[in-house]
């Protein structure tokens, strides 16, 4: 039988962000997949070279809507090393709390999306409802529901008082109970097991050779977690388990995430109960960094996040290289589709937790004249150019 090619995406009901998979099929069986990227390239790295160190904190957090706090952490901790600034312990704890809350809601959203992809819509609705509790907690601490923007050089922008601490602890009980329930659903439900078990198996050494990171790597049994191997913020002081599973299939990757979300609940609880005293909000912030370079790593919900920051002195960075976890998982993970059936393709892609960042430029369409043009963010903020 001849091989036929089916494009999945860039706009497709099973994909929530624009990416295209060119799936080559022999009958129902996938014989190869090409990933087509570039639909949303924003040039953030280039843009950062013309912005000040402080403005870049907010630029880098906009790389991703879901894992924004960890982007800020990776950038801020790197620049702090360059500047010679050490954040106080309390600030490190608060940063860790925010990052773990983010991990909980990020893992919940991808499990919800997985439920939706396999047609289990009521589970999707329920998980999204419960995820909202965590978003509320983020808002309570940082003042913002999505982009926490709590990091600043030398600390955080908001402290946690006793009232907030008690509310977070109380609401976490409900979150814990629900995650335990969803974990059981993912483990036991007949339909979920039918669709996820043995879909997209990745072996231990394949995962390392192809540079896969995060739950995708740990789902293949590799014990690798930046929080444990290369501790940053307060991770060296907070006890937690690195979750791994040996199956290496889509099901293992989802269960790793649910177990991790549960682990994160315990970590947030521990951090809140052991919050060190002292200041968390810096009085002054540095705005310039001396020449130097730093390699900064952090564990985003999707895996290892990598920042290579180079300073030649002054107000702006010389170069910032950002490598997000999905860049490895999505582009290098194509081998996992081979041998699967066409219907498994969305399941396997979702099990990688794909995150294709959206666009910084805004496309304005003049409906009456049918003219399209790009408007820079600066013009929008000045309310010009409409």
């Amino acid at each position: 039988m001849s091989v036929i090619e089916i494009p999945v995406g860039p706009q497709h009901p099973a994909l929530h962000e624009p990416i295209m998979l060119r799936v080559r099929l022999d009958g129902e069986e996938v014989v190869g997949v090409d990933v087509v990227t570039g639909y949303n390239h924003r040039g953030v790295e280039k843009l950062s070279e013309s912005r000040s160190w402080v403005r870049n904190i907010y630029l880098f957090s906009r790389i991703c809507g879901i894992c924004n706090t960890v982007h800020q952490q990776a950038y801020v901790q790197g620049v702090e090393k360059l500047m010679g600034v050490e954040p106080p312990p309390r600030a490190n704890y608060i940063r860790t709390i925010m990052m773990e809350l983010e991990r909980i809601h990020s893992h919940m959203i991808i499990c919800a999306i997985m439920a939706e992809v396999i047609g289990f819509d009521s589970l999707f609705m329920l998980m999204m409802r419960d995820r909202e509790v965590v978003m509320g907690l983020k808002e309570l601490i940082a003042g913002n529901r999505v982009h926490a923007d709590i990091h600043i050089f030398g600390g955080v922008k908001r402290d946690i008082d006793d009232k907030i601490r008690d509310t977070v602890l109380r609401k976490l009980e409900r979150v814990e109970e629900r995650i335990k329930y969803y974990r059981r659903v993912f483990e036991e439900d007949f339909t979920i097991r039918k669709r996820l078990v043995d879909a997209g198996v990745i072996k231990y050494h394949e995962a390392i050779e192809y540079s896969l990171v995060g739950p995708t790597l740990r789902g293949s049994g590799v014990k690798s977690d930046v929080r444990a191997d290369d501790p940053y913020a307060a991770y060296a002081e907070i006890p937690f388990n690195v979750i791994t599973r040996d199956e290496g299939d889509s099901w293992a990757r989802m269960l790793v995430r649910l177990d991790e979300a549960l682990e994160s609940v315990y970590m947030v609880r521990y951090a809140l109960e052991h919050l060190p005293g002292g200041p968390a909000v810096p009085k002054n912030i540095k705005r310039a960094a001396p020449p130097g370079e730093v390699f900064s790593r952090a564990e985003a919900p999707r895996g290892e996040l990598f920042y290579h920051i180079i300073s030649k002195g002054g107000q702006n960075p010389y170069r910032v290289k950002v490598r997000t976890p999905s860049f490895n998982n999505i582009v290098n993970g194509v081998f996992a589709y081979r041998g699967a059936r066409l219907a498994d393709v969305p399941v396997i892609l979702t099990s990688f937790d794909p995150c294709i960042s959206c666009t910084e430029r805004v496309l304005v369409v003049d409906e009456s004249r049918g003219v399209k043009r790009y408007v820079r963010l600066k013009e929008l903020s000045r309310n010009q150019g409409w």
């Binding site: 590799v222 290289k321 490598r323």
Partner: protein, 147 residues
């Protein structure tokens, strides 16, 4: 220090240790040796993965710096393999057949920084860069590109 780091220390033109946060080793090598070293890393570091390829345009020195960043699970250390390429002709042999995880990094380095990896069949413009930029034949992450 494990076998892999010992090997790299012996072969390196320059070997630096950074303690900015965790363990970081910077190993400067010649461009011609990259395949040999990559094969040795695969052999000695079965638990070492290529985290990313980071590129820097050092326009004043006339070089483009290529950093292969490996994370070693055995050593719990970041090993940065650094190669300096001439800015007017940045070419190097691919390592994507030895380390499959290098494929996306090489594609990105070609598309945005204009480094040509001999032997990598998947190099193409518009991998990330928008079509209008690719059509001009310019590489957006170079310092002389003012987009």
């Amino acid at each position: 220090m494990g076998e892999l780091l010992n090997y790299l220390r012996n072969i390196a033109k320059e070997f630096k240790e950074h303690v900015d946060q965790g363990r970081r080793y910077i190993v400067v090598i010649d461009a011609g040796k990259v395949r040999e070293v990559a094969a040795k890393i695969r052999e000695l570091g079965r638990e070492t993965y290529l985290s990313t390829i980071s590129t820097v345009d050092l326009i004043q020195d006339g070089i483009i710096q290529l950093n292969y960043c490996f994370w070693s699970l055995e050593e719990k250390a970041l090993i940065v393999l650094r190669v300096n390429l001439p800015r007017d002709n940045p070419r190097i042999q691919t390592i994507s057949d030895i380390i499959p995880g290098a494929c996306n990094g090489e594609q990105e380095a070609y598309d945005l920084m204009g480094i040509y990896f001999d032997g990598n069949p998947s190099l193409r413009r518009t991998f990330l860069a928008p079509e209008e930029v690719a059509k001009e034949g310019v590489f957006p992450l170079r310092k002389d590109y003012k987009g």
